[in-house]
Subunit: 208 residues, 2 copies
Amino acid sequence: MGDVELEVAGAEPVRRRGPETRAQILRVAMQLFTDKGFEATTTRDIANALGMNQSSLYYHFKSKDAIVTSLVEQRRHDLDEFVSWIRAQPRAPGLLRTAALRWLDQTTPEHLHAMRLALANPTVQQRLVGSDLDVRSAFDTVVDLFVDPETPDTEQLLVRMVFDTVSAALLSAHGTAASADAVLAAAREASIALTERLEPHRATHRQS
Amino acid sequence: MGDVELEVAGAEPVRRRGPETRAQILRVAMQLFTDKGFEATTTRDIANALGMNQSSLYYHFKSKDAIVTSLVEQRRHDLDEFVSWIRAQPRAPGLLRTAALRWLDQTTPEHLHAMRLALANPTVQQRLVGSDLDVRSAFDTVVDLFVDPETPDTEQLLVRMVFDTVSAALLSAHGTAASADAVLAAAREASIALTERLEPHRATHRQS
DNA sequence: GTCTATAGGTTGATAGAC
DNA sequence: GTCTATCAACCTATAGAC
């Protein structure tokens, strides 16, 4: 394989490493895991990108798994906050769109990185199913707010898709020159279009 | 890791293997690559699922890579057919939706399997970029029919998303009990909702 | 904190008998 | 066609010096 030794930090192998080596490892690992995938990225790759020895990583993390895990934790935390917020909202017509748009508004560039990482590593996510870091299970509770057991499967799925428009946009944008802003704007349009279909009775008043 | 030795064929390790061993290998490999990912699936996994020896695979395929490659080829072929069809269509208003729905109509269960495989193995797809089997490049030519260089990035991305609704639906459906039909129905709804936004002047006449 | 050295375990692939 | 045997390569992780 043409292993082209991806440039990671923007600079050469990081020469001067600040006091927060741990954070730098995470930054580099995030990039490599996203570009080459978790399994295809070796601990040597990460260490080399930082100009350090492979074994030195193990002073900061107890295993390769602990590195991804740490990366996922942050994302799971943000998600939990969103879930709390939405559970606290009164159920009102139009809440689906309101919630979806809020989810989009609070999506930072870091969130986008995290989503790219998740998209690039489905196996890692799958391995975390059932654990504290299971991302999908958090969304389940959100979806349940808008759906009851009698709701047709197709509609249940559409509700999920409303909250997954950012991932969908990232998927379609992959390999193109689309900016982060374009991705978010497209996701917003998609969320609006989908909710329009799920909550057609609108366009009149907006709740404060 | 709790390697639970996934049941693949529905039956125990395939006892009687027909004359088309090659096809069986492909079937099993498709399933394993989708469930565990290409890198995490060993040639031993594949062989065991078929009740044969690891080295025997190399009589039918020259390498592990050749197995995935063969899997991707079929999908690329179907895509090319769709591209030819759409290029032959006259450009008319509403073509975007017409094309998207046709794309959905011709989506067979096998296509869904192939898309699941692709979603589960982003790294494999990336490795194929630029080659004959690059799937995304085929879509580029489709998207170009509906977009010119001056089109805003956001709209370009939305057009891509119109053709990616099946992948998006599969992504959201992952881990749920949604059937293939529900996935396709949701994808259809999404395509309609998105094209409604991109081609708002409709709902009047439909071209024959 | 970072290094050298190395253990211990897999993995993809080949050689050759049957 | 399938098997046994085997290998070289590579990877994660640990031990211990500095």
